[in-house]
Symmetry: C2
Subunit: 344 residues, 2 copies
DNA sequence: CCTTAGCACTCTGCCAGCGAGAGTGCTAAC
DNA sequence: GTTAGCACTCTCGCTGGCAGAGTGCTAAGG
């Protein structure tokens, strides 16, 4: 789609003004606030063109124009001036995330809050990804009589646990033996596929414990498979209610909260385009979700070249894209850095 | 406060009708729907009395009456007919919670969702309580070069972990020795107070590892102290938006979501009266919270006589108390039962 | 003395009508 | 190609009127 310079400037001005005010913007306002060097009448003509091209739309005949999804898209792709967080802001993030950090989950949890605090949007954070990591230890420890706890520790430091009923005659020593055998055979395998061969070997070697080995292996498989659901952290859900476009429209708020409450939807939202570094999906571009009035900016974070999770910002289509992008970019690279340091 | 039979019946009818319809209820309606055997005029006189006593109030001169906090309180304490969940409902709960259960956290998480599904209110669940449990194992495992992971396992099957930087020269065998010493000295201690003596003994016995023992003990203390923040699970946040009294009033919704988003407020809300079995706090009785239009029904769940956590239902003051109470009571005793079975 | 019918009064919610304000599209002049 | 002028349109907020619901009071009845 080709736009001459003047159209670009006008589109840019409309988008920026609408983002700032949430009010449809008219030719007069435009001429006054942004010195475009032409009169309102000319701007009107241009805006009519932009509307015909599908970049702007009118809520009703006699209101100003607002950007369409396509208009935002053009803005984001070609017109938006990239910004960076200020040194103070970066510092704030670093302080918020780096102080007294105890476990990776905590880092991710705080990330969602910081994201929201930086932008007044809703911050999302997913991870850390459990898939793709490698088993380091499997331990079976007696808990109370006839109960044991199974721990699976991976090289990423994630831990899954399961409870097991065990027959009375199995001693702590037996459990230690079983742990050792399990660890020896499974160590180094990725979680996605425990080789069938390894499982059979274990069964053979532990033939003496026939009564429990089935249960134990089941628990192992379960711990590994069931752990797939990484937690999603939300920050600033409340901010949605501060957006003027939603103050009056409970139905929309409900749609959004519904998505925010449904983990698998969120997961889909965050991971859909985790391939690239940064994804911006605007309004109706999010086909799967009934939220044509929302945009989302997402990015994955990595350790080395493995995707460890994703973060995102959800807000009205009218969000400050430049700031959202700057924040997401900084946060995802900072997260990657922190994790790299954490794990190596 | 003494009420004669007729006043009781009228108050009861007002509360029930208002709970059902969310509309102020007038004398005419009352006379028609509930056969009180008297005319609207008499009812009006009685209602005027009830209003003077502070049990009812009028939104404006010419609307019907609605119960005041005090009115609800009287209803809950003296007039409410206790109900029980039907066999089908109980079955639904049992099915939802008992199938394929993997870990205690999952049980609690599902509880909040079931609570909300049963009542169309917002379900809260806190726990399982980490305080009061006893250390069973402490393990220090090498993770990647110069990093180790510390695991603290308690008799309740909760696990805390922390990452540690360790000098290169410390071997896996060294870590095993340290683990053994830690476990030997700390096993059986409750998390609240690791005795100073035990810590000194450890320091003495591990003098050879002077370089790491400080770090390790710090991590242990941190894992134990930091773990205090049990997770809170929410279910059905969305239901708030379905309440007619909040459909129009974004400010209230915001207040509520704000509380729901702030963990320490929720914790306070759930634990405030964990002493008794069941607590109902109505509207303004919740002094600490700026939500005079909300009530909350809470109960703790236990294993033996130790409080393991709490569950609750949050909704408008107009909630169906009888149902909320029945649900909470069933759920908390069912939870206690499940956990008792789990742990013993 | 309690209960009840009747009635005047009050307040809300809803709708229609109106004017102000903002913005547009079109036309004609520059 | 640009711009001033103008008629037109649409929203928003305000007002007044009206129906509906409910009340309190009074007076009559058991």
């Amino acid at each position: 789609m080709y736009l001459d310079e003047r159209k670009k400037r006008i589109l840019q001005a409309v988008v920026q003004d609408y983002i700032a005010t949430a009010e449809p913007v008219g030719s007069r306002t435009l001429a006054r606030k942004y010195n475009l060097g032409v009169s309102p009448a000319t701007i009107r003509n241009e805006m009519a063109d932009l509307e015909e091209m599908g970049l702007l739309e009118q809520p009703h005949t006699s209101a100003g124009r607002i950007p369409s999804d396509l208009g935002y898209r053009y803005y984001v792709d070609y017109l938006m001036e990239k910004t960076h967080l200020t040194a103070e802001e970066q510092d704030f993030i670093v302080q918020s995330l780096a102080t007294k950090l105890q476990a990776v989950e905590e880092l991710i949890a705080r990330t969602s809050e910081v994201l929201s605090a930086m932008t007044n949007l809703t911050g999302l954070a997913l991870g850390p990804q459990w898939a793709g990591s490698v088993i380091l230890y499997i331990e079976l420890l007696p808990l109370v009589p006839e109960k044991a706890i199974l721990l699976v520790v991976t090289n990423m430091g994630t831990i899954q646990h399961r409870f097991l009923e065990i027959p009375d005659e199995i001693t702590a020593r037996d459990l230690a033996v079983i742990s050792e055998v399990l660890t020896r055979h499974l160590r180094g395998l990725t979680l996605e596929r425990l080789s069938r061969a390894a499982l059979r070997d274990i069964r053979d070697e532990l033939a003496a414990y026939r009564r429990v080995v089935g249960l134990v292996l089941e628990a192992v498989e379960d711990a590994i498979g069931g752990g797939r659901a990484e937690r999603i952290y939300l920050g600033g859900t409340l901010n949605i209610l501060n957006q003027p476009e939603f103050r009056r429209d409970l139905a929309k708020v409900k749609d959004i909260l519904n998505v925010l409450e449904t983990e698998h939807l969120l997961r889909q939202l965050l991971l859909e385009e985790a391939g690239g570094t940064l994804a911006i999906r605007i309004g109706g571009e999010n086909r799967a979700f009934n939220m044509p009035y929302c945009s989302i900016v997402t990015a994955s974070y990595r350790v080395g070249d493995r995707v460890m999770g994703a973060i995102g910002l959800l807000g009205p289509t009218r969000m400050e894209y430049a700031r959202a992008v700057a924040t997401i970019e900084f946060m995802s690279s900072f997260l990657s850095e922190m994790l790299a340091h954490f794990y190596r």
